[in-house]
Symmetry: C2
Subunit: 346 residues, 2 copies
C-alpha cells in the first residue's frame, strides 16, 4: 500500500509499505477514504523536532475492513471517524472525559496513532482499541461530507476542545490566536457553543474570510502588544472571557495571556515548542489554563451529528486536495503557507 | 498608634506611626481586634523580595470606627472581616467572582491592603472600598472566635480557594503540597467541599496532627519523586483528582504536577518565586491550572457562617500569640519554623 514517509526534515516521499495487520484482539484495520496533513507535521518538516523515516499521518476516516475478536461496536463495512489519540473508553481517565490520555492505550504503547504501527497518510491503517476510539457514522458519507468528517478527526475536534476549555458560551467573548485549521475549527466551536463575540487574530485575507463564514465577528490583524491592545479595545479594556491558543510558540502564549481578562480561561492546543510560562504571570493574571492533546473522541458524536445535519462545514478549511502520491507538494504548500490545510485522497 | 515596620530584610521593629485617615468617601477606618503574620511576609524577611521600611500586614479583623460618606453597608461599631485584596463588588471582574483582581481598586491604586496606606500589623487601618471589601459578622465575636475569624481573612480563605480551584468535591482525592497555614486551610476547604480522600504532604508531626483534625485522611512525608510515588500509590497509580500548591517554589510546583492525574486540577496559591512551567509539561499532563491572589471576599460569608456555627476551627493554625510589640519575635519564630502562624494582639 502507498504510505507517506518523512525521511528527514524537509524530505517527504511516498512509497509502498506492507499492509497493516491486527496486532491485538481489540484492533481494527481501516481502508482510508481520505487523510490529511496536520500543522503539527510541519514541526519535524521544519527540523523543529527529530524525524527519521517516519510513516506520517494521524488523521483518518474510512471503512473498517477487519476487526479483532474482542471488537464489538464496529464491523467490516462500517464507515468510521476516529481521533489521533487512542482510547479504551473505560479507564478512569477516559471516564473523566480525557480519552486523549487513556491509561490503557498509553500502557499498551498505543497512546497515539502511529506509535506501534503505521500512520494514516496511507491507504490502510491499524486502529488500536477500536471500540473506544472509532465512531461509526449514521450513513456512508457523500463526497461533500468527506472533507467535513476528515476535519472532525482532528482540527475541528481540537479547535472545539480549545473553545470548550476557553469556556465559550452565551454572552462570552472568545479570542482565537492562530488562524490555521485548528484556530478556524475553534471559531466553529466557539460559535456552536454560543459565544457572542468571536475575535480571530489573523493577517491572512482568505483565512479571515473563512473565519467570518464560520462565525467570527471581529478580525484583529495586529500581533503582540498591538494585537493585545486591539483585543482590549474590543472588550471594554477588560480582555476576552476566553482565549484559544492554537499555535504553540512563546509569542502565541504571551499574546493569549495578554488578551484574556483576570479570572478568564485559556484553552491551548498548539503543540508547545520551547515555550514556558512564569508562574508569577499566571498568578498575576489569575487565569484558568487547560491544554493538551484534544479529547476529540468525546466530541465526535456531536461533531458528526452537526455535519450530517449540515449545520457546520468544517471541511472548508481544506484549500488544497491532492492524491496521496503528491503528498510532498502538500507539505511544501503548508510550509509556505500557500495552503491552510491539505486533504489527501487515496 | 503602634505599627510593625520591616526596615530591611531580617529587621522588624514596632514604632508609633500616625493614625490612618479616610482618603476617599468609600473608605472605612477600623480598629484592629487582632492581626497576624503571613507566610508571604517571610519572602521580604528572607531577602527574596525587596523591602524598605514597609508598614507590614494585610490580614485583619476589627471594629469600624469611621466611614466615608459613600459607605452604606457598614457603620461605626460593626465588627468586620475583610480580605487583603480590595474589591468594589461591582466591576466586571468582581461580578465574575474574582474580587481579588477588582478593576476599580487596582485603577485607584488600592488593589491590595497597604498600597496607599498602612498595613494591618497595626492598631488601626484604612480599608478602601469598604462596601465591597468588608463583611460584617452576625455578632461581636467571643475571644474564642477571634482567631478563627482572623484565619478567615487570609489563610483559610486562600486555602479554601485553592481547594475550590482543585475542584474538591464528593468522591474526589485532593493532595495538598505545603503544610503551612494556607495548606492547612486548604484541608479544611477540601473537607467542607466534600472531598473523600485528603492527602497532606508534611513531615512535621504537629502540622500532620492538625491536618488530621481538619480532615486529612492520609499523610505523605516524602517529597519530590518519592512523595509523588506515594501519592500515586494512594490513588491506584493514577494521581489525585486535584492538587493544592501552597508554597510557591519550583519544587512545590513540580511536586503538584507529579501528583495530579491527567485531566486533573491544580489550584496554586503559594506566591510564586522564580518558578515557571514548561508548556510542554502542561500539555502532556493536560491539567487544569488556576491560581492567584485568592478571591477571599467571595468566600467570607460562607466562612464566617461556618465559624459562628462552630463547624470549623481554622484558628487552630495559630500556635503562637504575641502582643504587637513582640512582632519581631513572631517573625523569627515563623522564619525558624518554630511557629506555623503567629497571631498578634493589640
Amino acid at each position: 500500500m502507498r504510505s507517506v514517509i518523512m525521511e528527514e526534515p524537509g524530505k517527504v516521499v511516498v512509497e509502498d509499505r506492507p499492509m497493516p495487520t491486527l496486532l491485538e484482539p481489540t484492533d481494527a484495520v481501516i481502508k482510508l477514504a481520505a487523510s490529511c496533513i496536520c500543522g503539527s507535521d510541519l514541526w519535524p518538516y521544519r527540523g523543529a523536532q527529530p524525524v527519521d523515516h517516519q510513516q506520517m499521518g494521524h488523521e483518518y476516516i474510512g471503512e473498517v475492513i477487519e476487526v479483532g475478536d474482542d471488537v464489538k461496536t464496529v464491523k467490516p463495512g462500517d464507515f468510521v471517524v476516529g481521533s489521533f489519540c487512542i482510547s479504551c473508553g473505560e479507564c478512569a481517565t477516559c471516564q473523566d472525559g480525557y480519552p486523549s490520555r487513556c491509561l490503557k492505550a498509553i500502557a499498551a504503547g498505543d497512546g497515539f496513532i502511529g506509535m506501534r504501527s503505521n500512520g494514516t497518510q496511507a491507504e490502510y491503517a491499524r486502529i488500536p482499541f477500536a471500540d473506544g476510539t472509532l465512531v461509526k457514522t449514521p450513513a456512508y458519507p457523500t463526497a461533500e461530507q468527506i472533507p467535513h468528517l476528515m476535519a472532525a478527526s482532528d482540527v475541528l475536534g481540537t479547535g472545539w476542545y480549545a473553545a470548550d476549555a476557553a469556556k465559550a458560551g452565551p454572552g462570552k467573548t472568545i479570542a482565537v490566536v492562530g488562524d490555521g485549521a485548528v484556530g478556524l475549527g475553534a471559531v466553529i466551536g466557539a460559535k456552536q457553543l454560543g459565544a457572542e463575540k468571536i475575535i480571530i487574530m489573523s493577517r491572512n485575507p482568505e483565512r479571515q474570510a473563512l473565519a467570518k463564514q464560520f462565525g467570527a465577528t471581529h478580525v484583529v490583524e495586529e500581533r503582540g502588544e498591538e494585537g493585545i491592545a486591539k483585543v482590549l479595545e474590543l472588550t471594554d479594556g477588560v480582555g476576552a472571557h476566553g482565549v484559544v491558543e492554537a499555535v504553540g510558540t512563546q509569542q502565541a502564549f504571551d499574546q493569549a495571556l495578554g488578551c484574556v481578562r483576570h479570572g478568564g480561561y485559556i484553552g491551548f492546543v498548539g503543540v508547545p515548542h520551547d515555550s514556558s510560562i512564569g508562574t508569577d504571570v499566571l498568578f498575576g493574571k489569575q487565569v484558568h489554563l487547560e491544554g493538551g492533546p484534544a479529547p476529540v473522541r468525546k466530541y465526535l458524536p456531536t461533531l458528526i451529528d452537526l455535519i450530517y445535519k449540515g449545520e457546520i462545514e468544517p471541511g472548508k478549511v481544506f484549500d488544497l486536495v491532492l492524491p496521496i502520491d503528491e503528498a510532498p507538494k502538500g507539505y511544501e504548500a503548508m510550509d509556505q503557507r500557500t495552503a491552510t490545510k491539505v486533504l489527501l485522497t487515496m
